[in-house]
Symmetry: none
Subunit: 222 residues, 2 copies
DNA sequence: TCAATGCTTCGGCTATGGCCGAACTATGAA
DNA sequence: TTCATAGTTCGGCCATAGCCGAAGCATTGA
């Protein structure tokens, strides 16, 4: 009677189609206004406002007032991780016809998950890092000395340790294996974009240039 | 717009309190019957049956027929992981310590779980029995000679061994630790009621009399 | 100061879906 | 065979909560 209802409250919030659409729209880590989210969810503005108030109360999104706009973003990586996991479960049931459009293929290849990289290449990276002993295993792996050396060589500054874990695993919905999240995951995405190895496409898609993909693979020994 | 609804379907399934309770009850990996899950969820059997059919369709639980029972277990670790994550999010919000009504407090103190005792006192009993070497450990602990002696002294007949395990552990909702189920768990509850140490209240609540509580604690050395 | 924009609150409508009792099927026991 | 137990299906009741339009703040710009 204790855990049940409390998780059901959170799950019920995600369980409404309009709210789910909003949350998915926020999965790329950007902040959107109430009007934009209403548009994404396909509901009228008052309805969206009500939904967002409830999501905010439950700590799934955080508001930021700016002028006469109110921006909302996902509260943190855990919320993004939960949504990714639910996507994986939803997909596996086969309820969804395959329908693998071109945009879908790009999403599978590489995309943003909150503030880090997800998709096929991100999963390969994560597995390689473990294999090479650069990071440990588990939910919040350690960054080893080997890992620090590798990153230093690439010119990626190791984020200072705050409240947020340096490394975290996040289950990838398209690959069904872990990719790397946490502060370091965010730093790597930043590096990839800063180097021009890839650029953000529409929505969550991340497009690697041919040269960028090669550089990425070389950098991490893929 | 395509992902939203599909994750919302899964989330909505978890989002119903009755179903959430069932899923949480299954979190220890064991399989439970429809009746047991109905009891855990606090709903009637037909209602539980319907819920489980939907959870099964969505691939969150898997059924296994055995005789005239139908056992359900969580489909896989991903489902468990998603529930854990949702628990974490729900907890961090601090959202729901709220509704601690009198009936709720009574439920936490002592209640019936299927046909045995659950709640704070039941968990203490189970831990004491293990500590005193009266029963073993694991999912279906053995009853030791020390345990048989204790029960004989209290005048509790040891149930004849049928298909049902004599001792079984059952995860306690409110305490999140194990209490004692199985044929012996049922026998102990029967004894408690027969001795007038406690009486069934409304719903699942079990109310101990002051003298009954003292007698119970003395009997088991709590 | 007035107007325009962005958002929230309110009130009322509606439908989804959760719940149960009763009746029915299937399995096992006597 | 007959009875008992476990579970499913059906029908109907009812509450929750999702939705929108209208009206009410609040912030910005003229």
């Amino acid at each position: 009677m204790k855990d049940g209802p409390s998780i059901s409250h959170v799950a019920a919030l995600i369980g409404d189609p309009a709210r789910a659409n909003m949350l998915v729209a926020l999965m790329d880590g950007r902040a959107l206004t109430v009007s934009e989210l209403a548009e994404c969810a396909g509901v009228a503005l008052p309805t969206a406002s009500g939904h967002l108030a409830r999501l905010g109360d439950a700590g799934l999104v955080t508001p930021a007032k700016q002028g006469r706009h109110r921006y909302f973003r996902l509260a943190d990586g855990d919320v993004a991780a939960a949504i990714e996991l639910l996507m994986g479960i939803a997909e596996r049931t086969g309820a969804r016809p395959a329908r693998t459009g071109p945009r879908d293929a790009a999403m599978r290849a590489a995309r943003v998950c909150y503030d880090h990289l997800a998709g096929e290449r991100a999963v390969r990276l994560a597995e390689r890092l473990v294999e090479d002993g650069c990071i440990g295993e588990g939910e919040t792996p350690d960054l080893t000395d080997a890992g620090r050396t590798l990153l230093a060589g690439l010119g990626i500054a190791i984020p200072t340790q705050g409240r947020r874990p340096l490394c975290r695993t996040c289950l990838d919905w398209s690959e069904r294996r872990n990719h790397l999240a946490g502060a370091l995951g965010a730093a790597i995405l930043g590096h990839v974009l800063a180097q021009g190895w890839a650029a953000r496409g529409p929505g969550r898609v991340v497009r690697f240039t041919p040269a960028g993909a090669a550089a990425f693979d070389r950098a991490f020994g893929l």
